[in-house]
Amino acid sequence: MSKRIDVADLDVYYGDFLAVEGVTMAIEPRQATALIGPSGCGKSTFLRTLNRMHEVIPGARVTGKALMDGQDLYGADVDPVTVRRQIGMVFQRPNPFPTMSIADNVLAGVRLNNRRMPKDAQQDLIEQSLRGANLWNEVKDRLALPGSSLSGGQQQRLCIARAIAVKPQVLLMDEPCSALDPISTLAIEDLIAELKSDYTIVIVTHNMQQAARVSDRTAFFNIAGTGKPGRLIEMDDTATMFSSPREQATEDYISGRFG
């Protein structure tokens, strides 16, 4: 239930603006890969190309290759909708559907597949997903309440439960803790450590301690100046990246000298 992604020579454009240039990267299954770098260097942009969410933005397009277990994500006959069903996403700000109950939020993705699911199978999936997101004990008595009645950290875990309920191959997270308090952040980090035994995880974070804590591999993106494209500077095992990076820019960024 976990696949690798190989990206080769990926350029991302917003209209005529080249936002990210020449990314070649291997993302290993059952590992957490962290994307770090100063803001504006294209981490979110790159992340969204992995499940084709960039296509939601008018004018956004890519050139290059992205393969999931050898299957071309950008193949002519590949529907972005099927890509997104296999590669789930958690956003910077928690976004449970405000019009749905907690339980319905968990089932939202499954319902899209038009699978008619028996009631008890639904109950099982709700419990399993919420347990998977470390949220079950906190909400099991109020599954019928609106998702917006939860705290920010709980909402974010609800979004994770919603994402894993469809059993994706890969989970993308774009600064999932940046809107949360330290305790909620810790809860999510613990969760990521558990989730990576089942899923390929790619997490964008501006917090280097977080990258160091949760990820197995780290990729550093940088930008030469405003208006210039973001590039992948260096990628390695997290331990190596934080102890002895090859590039000076990485060293500077990690030691807090800029960014």
Partner: protein, 334 residues
């Protein structure tokens, strides 16, 4: 407004050496006065609405009272009066008004939602803009023009449709027994539907456009197609807005006079034959048609029917508020 710029009494003019501090004090106190004035004005405006409402209600009650308290014999003297009491007279009119408006709403709301969604989520930007203007333009057409259009053109176009409906689905009482020309309540409702379409569409479009990007992306990232995203994120978010829009439309349809007057051939029955002429009439159209030939008690009867219309619109609005409030905690508002 001069009030806001004059410094309040009791605040001395600042000494020149402390001009800056004085300016700050003056700005702050002017701001306080301004906000107090504004609070007063808005409270006044709110009160004015209440007073106007009460005045209208009082006028209707006082002027309707002669008819409401009149004996059946006295009411007989009004040439066009039917039934034994004002209540009996107004009942079929209430029925006709509600039927015409609800039919119009049933026709208009799905089409409006469709157009609004097309503009907000499907059409390319240029086309969406053009369509938006067109809809706003439709809203500006006076209702008497819609009436003319309905009476002179639409009725002719509806004739074959109604003939076909009645012959194929005639076993359903609703559409049985069509009689040409199509001066029936269905035609009136179609005209009403076209009239209320722009306002419902325009308000719905605004609401749909306000769907948070966050929620749309949540849906798309789960692998929703555009239509699934609309159903999952846009429609639930816009639900209360669409209800408000529909109620605005319903309010307009309930009170619409000319369009109905010019299209429908009136009748005073509790009839569900939608395609027969001479079955229904609405309160507003009835007032307009009877008023010129009425005096004294006759006018009072008409005002009593107006009171009924006032109450209906009031109840409709309350119901709408209740529906919206009931699910407020699930709305996107928080």
């Amino acid at each position: 407004m001069p009030v806001t710029t004059t410094p309040p009494r009791g605040v001395p003019d600042p000494a020149p050496s402390r001009a800056d501090a004085g300016a700050a004090v003056r700005a702050a106190s002017t701001g306080r006065v301004a906000s107090r004035v504004f609070a007063g004005l808005s409270t006044g405006a709110g009160l004015l609405i209440l007073v106007t409402l009460a005045a209208v209600a009082a006028f209707l009650l006082i002027r309707a009272w002669p008819a409401l308290s009149a004996s059946p014999e006295e009411l007989e003297t009004v040439s066009w009066f039917t039934g034994g009491s004002v209540a009996e007279y107004v009942a079929p009119l209430v029925f006709g008004t509600l039927l015409a408006s609800v039919l119009a709403l049933l026709l208009a709301v799905p089409v409006s939602i469709g157009i609004a969604l097309f503009i907000s989520h499907y059409a390319p930007r240029r086309l969406a803009q053009g369509l938006g203007y067109l809809i706003d333009l439709l809203a500006a057409i006076p209702s008497v023009v819609y009436g003319l259009w309905g009476a002179l053109w639409l009725i002719g176009q509806l004739d074959p449709v109604f003939t076909w409906l009645s012959s194929t689905l005639g076993f359903v009482p609703l559409v049985a027994d069509y009689q040409a020309p199509a001066k029936n309540i269905m035609s009136a409702s179609v005209v009403l539907a076209v009239m209320i379409l722009p306002i419902i569409t325009a308000v719905s479009r605004e609401v749909f456009l306000q769907t948070p990007r966050l929620h749309e992306e949540a849906s798309l990232a789960l692998g929703a197609t555009r239509w699934e995203m609309v159903r999952q994120a846009v429609l639930p978010f816009g639900r209360s807005g669409v209800i408000s829009a529909s109620m605005l439309g319903l309010g307009r349809a309930l009170g619409e006079t000319m369009a109905v007057l010019m299209v429908i051939s009136p009748g005073f029955l509790f009839s569900f034959f939608l395609l027969r002429p001479g079955q229904h009439q609405t309160i507003a159209a009835n007032i307009a048609s009877k008023f010129p030939e009425s005096s004294g008690l006759g006018v009072s009867v008409l005002i009593a029917t107006g009171l009924a219309l006032f109450v209906i619109t009031f109840v409709v609005n309350l119901a709408a508020r209740w529906i919206i409030a009931r699910r407020a905690e699930y709305s996107g508002a928080n």
